[in-house]
């Protein structure tokens, strides 16, 4: 009877863990002990094989890139005026800006939206354009010119970048062979740009040429000689050590 009163509660609490237990569907107690620290790295996932690009994929890619290229160069691609300011277009844009070659002069006058779109109130709400834009909308001559230029660019873009790189490699190997033989490569029809390319490539090859005996540039450049070079400096200072051996 004493167990029912004050001691009863003590009896009930004895033997139990004192904290909630996790149990599964059948009522079995699940282990909740932490076995060691968590792993430092997640498990290594075996990645699937790289998918092969089929001929159909290549055709799709070609068409997709032709469309993407069209959109980028069309008046439909709207950029902010601040996007073409200094420090925003990367090194190429900075070179163009500082060299004074205007992109507009190179590519021709840019087209307006109203030149290529038919702005009719039936399809476009009239509050988006004025009467002048509507009158000049869809001008056939400018449209024709725009489409012709896009078609011309498409011909250049069709050449795969890898093919262009392969072509460049061939040009460079031909140029390096020419420099070694001392002869001009066949045909005097090269443009100035190709000459500059060859000169630049030749300069690179000259700088990194491995035909030198020690792999360095000029022999009298002591900067490249490294720590073994004795330039006779720093020996005139009298440290006052006398003729004792120096350890």
């Amino acid at each position: 009877m004493a167990g029912r009163g004050r001691g009863g509660f003590r009896g009930r609490g004895r033997g139990g863990p004192g904290f909630p237990l996790a149990k599964d569907d059948e009522g079995n107690v699940l282990s909740t002990q932490i076995e060691g620290p968590p792993p430092l790295y997640p498990e290594l996932v075996e990645l699937p094989d790289r998918p092969a690009i089929t001929s159909r994929d290549e055709r799709l890619l070609r068409k997709h890139r032709a469309l993407a290229s069209f959109y980028k160069k069309s008046p439909y691609y709207l950029k902010r005026n601040s996007d073409s300011g200094p420090g925003t277009g990367g090194v190429t844009a900075e070179i163009d800006r500082l060299s004074g070659i205007s992109k507009k002069r190179r590519e021709g006058p840019s087209l307006q939206l109203s030149d290529v779109m038919t702005l009719h109130p039936k399809y476009f709400p009239p509050e988006l354009y004025n009467g002048k834009q509507r009158r000049t909308g869809g001008s056939s001559a400018k449209q024709q010119q725009f489409w012709a230029s896009q078609q011309a660019d498409k011909g250049k873009d069709d050449q795969d970048m890898n093919e262009r790189l392969a072509k460049l490699e061939k040009q460079e190997t031909a140029a390096s062979k020419t420099d070694k033989d001392g002869k001009a490569p066949g045909g005097g029809e090269k443009g100035e740009d190709e000459d500059n390319e060859e000169k630049r490539a030749a300069l690179e090859d000259e700088v990194f040429e491995e035909d030198d005996e020690d792999g360095y540039g000029h022999d009298d450049d002591d900067y490249l000689q490294g720590q073994d070079y004795d330039d006779d400096e720093g020996y005139d200072v009298d440290e006052g050590g006398g003729d004792d051996a120096f350890y």
Partner: protein, 545 residues
């Protein structure tokens, strides 16, 4: 996918718009997708863009069918002019990823009477419309002439003929006008509060009917594929015949006369028809895998012949055809040069179709033309989805997981013990896989408590697979994957921005050190873009078909 407003679908759409139409259009598009339709005033206020940029962006997005202007309905007797709102079209933006696939479809399947020349012209028309969004017929003639490299007058006749054929085949449609009334959202019956009584319900229904009646007046659906008179005339007939036709037309309905007036008609690509073609191709591929090439050829013949009778994209089944008509359709396909596997005995193949357990193609007797055969499009698409789901389950959860899933799919609702016995797995692994699949959204669990306190030890847990929920979940996962691939592609381009700019400008003066970077970048782009197209093909099976 019409009801899909998943956040990642909207983010994917903004990525597509940014890549193709620039950052300003991307901002406006993102705003519209986030907030729904907006008036011009609201857009000007929330976007923060200068007016000129905002107007240009709205014009470009409308031109490329990414948004559609509507007119807000006003109450009768209102004194203010109707307001224009701009509503984004999420599906149309996501379908822009399929533009290359559409071009490929036309190049591979369009067979004209003049062979390759007509195929090239058809491809040029579709390409011009994809590039420019919307064009008038005159602009299409000029565009095609420029692509083919010939004078406009030389190619106009052939282009006009091909344009008519494309409109008849529903690959090209009229652009919708900007004065359509914005359709009001349908009132759900549960949304009507209790206690309002019948009169309120009747009033709401009448209002909806009135809206529909008003919509019919300016109905775009009826005129969508109507070929105007100026395209139908001058098709090679003599001047006298043309004059006679004009006279007949002048007595016809007033809508015909409008086509000859000053309002231009803008044409655009109809993605719905391309999706229908892709859906048919998916069904034929499924039949080819499940049965054989001959059955697939017969399915192709049925679908080609009955294509024009389909009124909506998600038709459950094709129109029935008799054996004689199937044979005639097969012969037509072979004569037109389509790639169809030759069938030695069509009747034998049809008899096998009658015994098909999968019921991808069914037959019905009792008609005047004998036994009629039809393709069950819904069944084929469901089988294609099932195959994809099983491959995903097998890849993620292994063979045991696949056995468990199949056992539940075939048997319905089962307890864990029964599943374990059917799948021949041990208790621990089975439980782990079941909860893993529950977390992945591949199955559902139902609690059947024996006592009121719902204690776990006194509750039955039954597991089941609900195909529709799993399909929806996989569809969303696919959009998520597409977004991941597209954003990775975008990041790769940003990281190599200068190199990409050099490549796009055609500057081939690339130093040695950059060439490795270029080959890495082009390899990565090829892989990511081709993966994106493949994901889009799979995604269309779950979300569009």
């Amino acid at each position: 996918m019409a009801e899909l407003v998943h956040p990642e679908a909207c983010q994917l759409a903004t990525l597509i718009v940014e890549e193709q139409l620039g950052p300003i259009c991307k901002e406006i598009c993102a705003l519209l997708l986030r907030k729904g339709y907006q008036t011009l005033f609201e857009l000007a206020k929330t976007s923060g863009c200068p007016r000129a940029e905002l107007y240009d962006a709205l014009l470009v997005l409308t031109q490329h069918n990414c948004i559609q202007p509507f007119v807000l309905e006003q109450e009768e007797g209102a004194k203010t002019s109707p307001q224009t709102v701009f509503q984004p079209d999420l599906l149309a933006i996501l379908h822009r990823l399929r533009s290359a696939r559409c071009l490929l479809h036309i190049a591979d399947t369009w067979k004209g009477t003049n062979g390759q020349d007509e195929t090239k012209i058809a491809e040029a028309i579709v390409e011009g419309l994809l590039e420019n969004g919307r064009l008038t017929s005159q602009q299409i003639y000029r565009n095609v002439a420029g692509k083919l490299g010939c004078a406009v007058d030389d190619s106009t006749k052939a282009t006009k003929k091909l344009l008519c054929q494309l409109i008849s085949s529903h690959y090209v449609e009229r652009a919708p006008p900007a004065n359509l009334t914005l359709p009001k959202p349908a009132i759900h019956p549960d949304a009507m509060a209790k206690g309002r009584g019948i009169s309120a319900v009747a009033k709401a229904q009448e209002e909806q009917a009135a809206n529909l009646r008003r919509l019919d007046k300016v109905s775009y659906g009826r005129d969508r594929f109507r070929i105007p008179s100026d395209l139908r005339l001058d098709d090679g007939h003599s001047a006298a015949e043309s004059a006679l036709k004009r006279q007949k037309l002048s007595h016809s309905a007033s809508t015909e006369a409008l086509d000859m007036g000053t309002d231009p008609i803008l044409w655009r690509v109809c993605y719905e028809e391309f999706n229908r073609s892709f859906r048919h191709a998916a069904c034929i591929a499924m039949i080819s895998q499940a049965r054989d090439e001959e059955a697939a050829a017969i399915a192709s013949a049925i679908l080609t012949k009955t294509r024009h009778f389909e009124t909506r994209l998600k038709e459950q089944e094709s129109q029935p055809l008799s054996a004689a008509m199937i044979k005639a359709s097969l012969e037509e396909m072979m004569q037109s040069g389509e790639e169809v596997s030759p069938i030695h005995d069509v009747d034998a193949v049809l008899r096998e179709i009658e015994r098909d357990d999968l019921e991808m193609m069914t037959s019905s007797t009792g008609g005047p033309d004998g036994t009629m055969y039809q393709v069950q499009l819904d069944t084929c698409i469901n089988l294609a989805r099932l195959k994809t789901i099983e491959s995903i389950v097998g890849a993620r959860f292994g063979l045991l997981g696949l056995r468990i899933w199949r056992a539940l799919f075939l048997s319905g609702q089962l307890e864990q013990k029964t599943i374990q016995d059917m799948a021949i797995g041990d208790q621990k692994d089975t439980r782990q896989l079941l909860y893993g699949m529950l977390k992945g959204g591949f199955m559902a669990v139902t609690e059947i408590p024996k006592s009121a306190d719902r204690a776990a030890s006194r509750t039955f847990y039954t597991w089941r697979v609900r195909r529709d929920i799993v399909s929806e979940r996989i569809g969303l996962d696919m959009v998520h994957s597409m977004f991941n691939i597209a954003s990775r592609l975008h990041t790769e381009s940003l990281l190599n921005l200068e190199l990409v700019q050099q490549l796009e400008s055609g500057n081939t003066t690339i130093l040695k050190t950059h060439r490795q970077q270029v080959s890495h970048l082009t390899g990565a782009r090829d892989l990511l873009e081709s993966s994106l197209f493949r994901m889009d093909e799979l995604n269309s099976v779950f979300n569009d078909f």
